[in-house]
């Protein structure tokens, strides 16, 4: 299986960074993903796969951020959702 040059990165999403008060972790997922979709020129409905980065314990007072929870907050219904990415 040769994957060379078969796939491409087409969108990048940024958020404010540093000490950003009054923000939840999931709000950063939302903003980063929304910006990546816009950067790529796609629509939210186009996204059918979600991989969230490797798992951290939740911040105090926050829900456990599984890929399903993140999808829910993003309003996405991916065919595939996982927690992976090394």
């Amino acid at each position: 299986m040769d994957l060379k040059d078969k796939y491409a990165v087409v969108g990048v999403g940024y958020t404010p960074q540093g000490k950003v008060p009054e923000r939840t972790s999931v709000s950063f997922h939302q903003e980063a993903v929304a910006n990546a979709i816009q950067d790529a020129g796609l629509k939210k409905e186009d996204i059918d796969g979600l991989i969230s980065y490797r798992h951290f314990p939740p911040c105090p007072g926050e829900p456990n951020l599984t890929p399903q929870t993140i999808s829910q907050y993003l309003g996405l219904t991916p065919s595939y959702a996982s927690q992976d990415a090394n």
Binding site: G11, D39, L42
Partner: protein
């Protein structure tokens, strides 16, 4: 998932209220096990142990790591979004910073920050019709030595980077000489050195010679962590390196753009790494301009 046709557009996302929300503290507590009884807790302790082992087994130490910390800071000084954008770092600053866990000083450690980052991946074919210039994944490789640091025999390398790098280079059909710039996962300066050593950019213990003289800085022959990296821009695990590689290949990096603006080679191929646990996993990605 893309290969199997199950998905068309996959988003990879990271978000963490690590600083204001106290998230990183929770993560570091989770890393703390029975070894805490012997004074080893959090992530710095594990990497400090590995760095000390590196110093014992081959020629390395702050004389090498200062070049990484200061070089990346010079890139951050060109990146208005970087947390350390306005803070210059001299050699004196590096050495005078407090030791966090010996032998790692403050500026050998990555930043803790709130924020998020995401990238979207699709097929090269679909990418051609989209808004941005496509950046292709030419090669990738993964390797997971997996053992906790207490049982690890790879503290001074070879880490997972050895096999991950070989697999990525093989897929891409290129060698280290073809790489124009690197974006390397940099939880600590030592991680950068060890990863680059295991990828084959220099021989074991030759890091000090390789890094000195501004190799990785603006104007250098192998620009590395050109956003400032996790040491001086912000921490998003593997997405700090990967997003920067993509933006550099798209030519959208402003004052820090590789090419004439920073007196460096205009990049066609950028190598990225990610690393998990205490050197327990490594991923190598080679991106090229589409």
């Amino acid at each position: 998932m893309l290969e199997a046709g199950i998905c068309k557009y996959v988003v990879i996302t990271y978000g963490h209220s690590a600083l204001w929300g106290g998230g990183m503290y929770q993560m570091l507590l989770q890393l703390t096990g029975n070894e805490a009884a012997f004074g080893h807790f959090g992530a710095v302790g594990g990497y400090a142990l590995a760095a000390m082992r590196g110093m014992h087994e081959f020629s390395t130490g702050p004389e090498t790591w200062k070049h990484i910390a200061m070089g990346q800071r010079k890139w951050a000084n060109l990146n208005p979004a970087a947390m350390m954008h306005k803070k210059a770092m001299s050699e004196e600053d590096y050495y005078n910073a407090p030791m966090v866990v010996e032998p790692l000083r403050l500026f050998d450690n990555c930043l803790i920050n709130d924020g998020g980052r995401a990238i979207i991946i699709t097929t090269a074919e679909r990418a051609r019709d989209l808004k941005q210039p496509p950046v292709l994944i030419a090669g990738m490789g993964h390797h997971n030595p997996s053992n906790e640091i207490g049982q690890a025999k790879y503290m001074a390398g070879p880490t997972g980077a050895k096999k991950a790098g070989e697999a990525a280079f093989q897929m891409a059909g290129i060698g280290v000489g073809d790489v124009d710039a690197c974006q390397i996962y940099d939880c600590f300066t030592y991680t950068v050195e060890l990863t680059m050593q295991d990828y084959g950019f220099f021989g074991r213990g030759e890091g000090e010679d390789w890094f000195k003289g501004g190799t990785i800085e603006p104007g250098g022959r192998m620009p590395l962590n050109t956003s400032g990296g996790q040491l001086s821009e912000a921490y998003y695990m593997g997405l700090t390196p990967m997003s920067e590689a993509v933006m550099q290949l798209r030519g959208q990096c402003g004052d820090r753009q590789l090419g004439p603006k920073t007196n460096t080679k205009e990049p066609e191929i950028i190598l990225c790494s990610d690393n998990g646990g205490i050197l327990q996993s490594n991923a190598c990605y080679i991106f090229r301009k589409g």
